[in-house]
Amino acid sequence: MHILKMSPAYRFISVIWAMALKDIKSTLTERAFMLTSIIIPINFLLLFLLFALTGGQAPTAVVLKDNGPYAQQLLSAMEHSHSFIIRQTTASDAQNLMQKGQIVAIVTVPANFDAALKHGSQIELPVVVNNLDVDFTNDIRRAVPLAITSFYADAFPNQVVVRAHEIDIYSQDTGYVQYLVVSLMVVSVMLGGLLQAGSNAAREYEKGTIKELMLAPANPWAIQVGKILGAVILNSLSVAVVVIVIVFLIGVWPMHWGELLGFVLLLMITFVAAGALIGTLIRRRQAVIPLSIGLSIPVFFISGAFGPAIWGDPITAAIAQLQPVYYGIAVFQHAFHNFTTTSTGPRVDAFILIGFAAVMVTVSAIALGRSRGRGVAH
């Protein structure tokens, strides 16, 4: 007697596990594709990181014709302004670098800088700018006066009347990159999940194996949950690599590891289920990849990747709140930096994410069940 009567719950679980194992085995046989689904999210992370590291600061040559303490103090103010990548050089070398297009500006500190300051005389600080990229040019126009103000505030505290008094909300300062990588991690989880699960689902239709699933007397929920579980396990590989890069290479250490792991799992379930839904609906792997990337980029930009979305335009912020990346960034910022970047707070954000995960799993299971009626034949 080869067929045993089993409880529906046991059968449901056995189908889930069988589907997860099958998808893992199938994916492991397609190594090139598996590598792609790991590389694309990491590539995304590195690309934006490089953009952030290099794009925000203008390469600038400083020619110090005076080496006095005030001149050195001005140089230090410029170095700490987060606006310049400073190269201290001679006037001729600076000209060469400008000719080769390797720098945006040359700031020359004149020979009488210290003496003139001591006598309260007016000093001219020549700044030559390369207007090839107006954005960089404007950065220089804003940053040089700010650096000078900063220098004055430190060098002559009694002469600077207005000085901002900072009160820190958080115990630590967080740099632009440290903030950005957390947002990038969310979008990497999203991209990895969409790609992995979307491809697994679409592959069933492309290869015609969906018929084996649709003809089985198994619950479509069990089939889809099994596929989601398989994709979550596979997606963990790319997420693990992203976490290693962020924590150990970039050095952004999470303040709450438990929160981080829980939210990573929650986001993976949400995006993997979304991927399974996309794959079930569009049924072609070739379309899953561009669609996943195409969805991830705009969602990333509107969801508060560079700063809390609620600081921005109210319409954009309202749109951002309709999708899970917004809440994902918020809970990850809390897990890493203890930040609260939404008006709802991390606890409510977590519940909203649980809701998104439940909705995605439900809709993807319904979509799979309905594909029976829609016809899966060639």
Partner: protein, 333 residues
């Protein structure tokens, strides 16, 4: 191979319908439209328990659409399909539990090995317990693929894939098997082997088999009854023998040196006992009823007066000719 009673109840084996009305599949006024195109047009037919039933028709005739609806993969526009006493639209899962399917494209996971494919099927169909692996081995042995159980399916030939798909379909001991073009793209040797498995299923295990095919020879060799459909309509439904009889008991082929005249063709058609006369490439095909030797003699005399006879052969009519006479066209590719 008898399934346990508990599984019959659980998986929709309706013993009542099995023993009393003897109807395995009942298709009632089935219509399926895709936009303005009608794929199946008011189709009604019955498949009895224990028979091999063939759905025959050219590509695009509606065979696969019919079978997709029967197996619950597609919804009909109107009409009803009852499978082993269950309405396919209402009790899809019960029907699926009792159905073994070999789709046209086999639906095998080619990147996985044969054993893993069987194992997944066992899990999906709830084949568990201590005998699970024995059952998988048994089915792989049946189709002579046990030795290749660890090989990736992608390395299999077309015939091996079909055999594996058949073994998989039988794994959960279904009451009813549907085979969509079971020997499509398979070499002659494998085709014969698959035919033998299908015949054994009926003869040794009493399975009901619904198959679609483009091959008339296959339908002739396997099917107890055949339904010919074209443009989604039922054109004929009968046993292969009766269909041949309807066309004519024998076909006489006469090869001539030149084309015979149209007057001769008209004359031949008027001879008693001759039901059909066609001429293709200087070959006359004459369908005859009964064994009237005088009619045979008469037609040979008439033909020889019109042209030189090069060859005469007598044989049974084939289904290609029957199909042609019923639909007015040959099998489309």
């Amino acid at each position: 191979m008898v399934a346990p009673e508990s599984f019959e109840a659980e998986n929709g084996r309706n013993s009542n319908s099995n023993s009393c009305n003897q109807v395995a599949i009942e298709i009632i006024k089935l219509t399926k439209r895709f936009g303005n195109f009608t794929a199946i047009d008011d189709l009604s037919l019955v498949v009895k328990y224990g028979e091999i039933f063939g759905l025959l028709g050219p590509n695009g005739s509606g065979k696969t659409t019919t079978i997709n609806i029967v197996s619950g993969l597609s919804k009909p526009t109107s009409g009803q399909v009852m499978v082993i006493g269950h309405d396919i639209m209402k009790d899809t899962r019960a029907v699926h539990a009792a159905l073994g399917a070999v789709p046209q494209e086999t639906a095998l996971y080619e990147e996985l090995n044969a054993w893993t494919n069987m194992s997944l099927h066992a899990d999906l169909y709830g084949v568990r317990g201590p005998d699970r692996n024995r059952r998988i081995s048994e089915m792989l042995n049946l189709v002579q693929l046990y030795d290749r159980r660890s090989s990736r399916v992608s390395t299999f030939s077309g015939g091996m894939k079909r055999r594996l798909a058949l073994a998989r379909a039988l794994l959960h001991d279904p009451l009813l098997l549907y085979l969509d073009e079971p020997t499509l793209g398979v070499d002659v040797q494998s085709r014969r082997a698959i035919w033998n498995y299908i015949l054994d299923l009926k003869e040794k295990e009493g399975k009901t088999v619904l198959l679609t095919t483009n091959y008339l020879e296959e339908a002739n060799a396997l099917c107890d009854r055949i339904a010919i459909i074209d443009h989604g309509k039922l054109v004929a439904l009968d046993t292969p023998i009766e269909m041949k009889r309807r066309y004519g008991d024998t076909v006489m082929e006469i090869e001539t040196a030149s084309y015979v005249s149209s007057q001769l063709l008209e004359q031949l058609r008027k001879i008693s006992g001759i039901s059909r006369v066609t001429q293709t490439d200087k070959i006359l095909k004459i369908a005859m009823s009964g064994n009237d030797l005088s009619a045979t003699g008469k037609l040979i005399t008439l033909v020889s007066q019109d042209s030189i006879i090069r060859r005469i052969a007598q044989r049974e009519p084939n289904l290609e000719e029957i199909f042609l006479s019923l639909t007015g066209s040959g099998l489309r590719d």
